[in-house]
């Protein structure tokens, strides 16, 4: 522990003094942390706020909930307010109903006497708390589980197919010599420059004419061939020594076996990176699923979330909460696969 503290608080300045680089470092690091984590933390904090609190200005840092009290003679618990009276003293009262710019309020200790209070003379009594129903309501009312299932299906299938097809293409482009190999590679990489919005219409007519509209496969299939993936895997496979492949060829391995038993295991670090990318891409995909899927029961989460944003009314509290939920799988995938990014298992064993 001591070593960690010494490391973290080590300064360039001697004898407890601050060197100017120490100050810059701290500002830089703290600023960077806020920029990186600020939005995510803000999202999580906001997702626990009720609709009224979200609309407030200035916004509060932490989520609050209004305190309520059970008052004799009323079925539902009533919200509590701090009321400033005409003589300047304050007391806590419960609101029965609002009428225009004033509210009918009652003292919980004395439920018989009703008082009319102007809205400007009262402050809600709040404590830090979580609006859990932002999370629970969508699970109950909204078809969350079905959307989640669709999203998982699309992400898993698309990622598996992406890894398979891209690695096969990369294998051919890195380990076989044939005429036009570099031209093919160039062509594949060149498609990086074509954004989805440009090919949206032709892609739509292709998917439509093969009858994949309103099918999850219509979302999956057009996305599996990615130039980024082919390029990434090819660059990695170039580092796998050809002698390994020749050794396998001498060992009676078929070309398929070489791919499956030698190249794929050795390209695992690059495959993991591509898997992370693919999961993030497919999970967060919005535009293409929105176009292909028009039946509600086929919606993926991202499209499902969109239904909270109506023409007249956006239910921010639900959108924020569900955004947090949809982030969880991506974060988990990253946590589990990130070690592959840093460790390379190939390259060893040679020399």
């Amino acid at each position: 522990m001591n070593a960690v503290r010494n490391f973290v608080f080590a300064r360039r300045g001697r004898a407890g003094k601050w060197h100017w680089t120490d100050i810059v470092t701290w500002i830089w690091l703290i600023g960077g942390t806020i920029i990186m984590f600020g939005p995510a933390l803000w999202l999580i904090s906001s997702s626990f706020k009720g609709p009224a609190q979200l609309a407030e200005f200035p916004p509060t840092l932490l989520p609050y909930v209004q305190e309520v009290a059970k008052v004799e003679g009323y079925d539902a618990p009533l919200p509590l307010y701090q009321v400033t009276q005409e003589d300047g003293s304050t007391r806590v009262m419960a609101e029965i109903r609002r009428i225009g710019t004033s509210a009918q309020m009652v003292d919980p200790a004395n439920p018989e006497e009703r008082v009319s209070v102007r809205l400007t003379d009262r402050q809600p009594v709040r404590e830090v708390g979580l609006a859990i129903n932002n999370y629970t309501d969508p699970f109950l009312a909204f078809d969350f589980m079905r959307y989640l299932g669709n999203s998982v299906f699309v992400t898993v299938m698309a990622t598996l197919l992406t890894l398979l097809t891209n690695s096969m293409a990369a294998f051919a482009l890195s380990k076989y010599r044939f005429k036009g190999r570099d031209a093919v590679m160039l062509l594949i990489v060149a498609t990086l420059m074509v954004p989805l919005s440009v090919i949206l219409v032709p892609l739509y007519s292709v998917v439509s004419s093969v009858g994949l509209l309103n099918s999850l496969w219509g979302v999956i299939l057009p996305t599996i061939a990615t130039p980024t993936g082919v390029f990434l895997l090819r660059q990695y496979m170039l580092t796998i020594p050809d002698e390994l492949i020749e050794a396998a060829r001498m060992d009676h391995a078929s070309e398929w076996q070489i791919y499956w038993r030698i190249i794929l295991p050795l390209a695992a670090p690059a495959l993991a990176v591509l898997a992370i990318f693919s999961v993030v891409w497919r999970w967060n995909d919005f535009l293409w699923p929105l176009i292909v899927l028009s039946r509600r029961e086929l919606y993926t989460l991202q499209i499902g979330l969109n239904t909270y944003a109506g023409e007249l009314n956006v239910q921010w509290h639900y959108i924020l909460a569900m955004t947090v939920v949809t982030m969880i799988p991506v974060v988990l995938v990253f946590i589990f696969l990130q070690r592959f990014i840093t460790t390379g298992i190939a390259g060893a064993g040679i020399k």
Partner: protein, 348 residues
Amino acid sequence: MGRIVLKNIRKAFDAVEVIHGVDLEIKEGELVVFVGPSGCGKSTLLRLIAGLDTPTSGSIEIDGRDVTKAGAADRGLAMVFQSYALYPHMTVRQNLSFGLENQRMPKAEIAARVDEAARMLEIDELLGRRPTQLSGGQRQRVAIGRAIVRNPTAFLLDEPLSNLDAELRGTMRAELSALHARLSTTMIYVTHDQVEAMTLADRIVVLRKGVIEQVDTPLNLYNKPQNLFVAGFIGAPNMNFFKVEVKSGKAELPGGAQIAVVHEGPVTLGLRPQHLRLAQPEERAIAAEVFLIESLGAETVLHANVEGAGQIITVLDGQLDIARGAPIRLAFDDANLHAFDAAGQRIG
């Protein structure tokens, strides 16, 4: 089993021809070493035999069967690569059995063969490890083991010892030699190290620039090099050469020594450093001036300048008390003299 015949093999990469018509017959059970300077085409020739590359023209026969068009796996050969090329993600056992599994051999037989090879190479302790956890020498053994389990008609070894340190190289050389004696399988061994070539080979193939310069037993190569290149390449330190003019069967060496040569015109004479000795006062000799002395204990290497004929290197037995700059006279026997004509071919 294991007779390999190469007939007029040529290989070109794009427009550049690197093997210019090689004819070679390797007998069954023979250990043949391909030796030559880097870029001479020895590894290319091995890859052609292995089936990893196909020759531009010519044919390759193994045991009388034309395999020129056959794939690498169908030739029944096993290869040990310079980098060993062990599969890094597999254990030693998996490395050894990979080739057998691909041939759909029964599991029990695979296990038996792997165990036998492991015992033979003393790597049974390592079967559960991965190549990264092995030392250089151990990897080398595993690479050889992977070749042995296949029970091949011939072994192809591409500079197998070049990644080992000097001491280990000596041990592995002896082991390879013993292994060949025990298996009596044909082996083709590629190296640029002439000590390996001389100690291991039944016959040595000396290559230069894609052409075979000479094929012979190690001692014949040493004693009767067919041309200047072989004479200069085999033997360390290199042979001393003197350019002389032969007139009516006589040539004069620098220093005035007269010798008889059965040739006329310009001739290159060669003398191995080991065949020179310090001359007696009256003896016919080459005069030189020492400029570098390498005392190795058992022998002394003298580098000397011969006036008008460049440098001469001598290896003398024992330890000598000679100072730099001292004049010496070096004598030799005519029997040890090699003569080459203007085209570099051996005379006599």
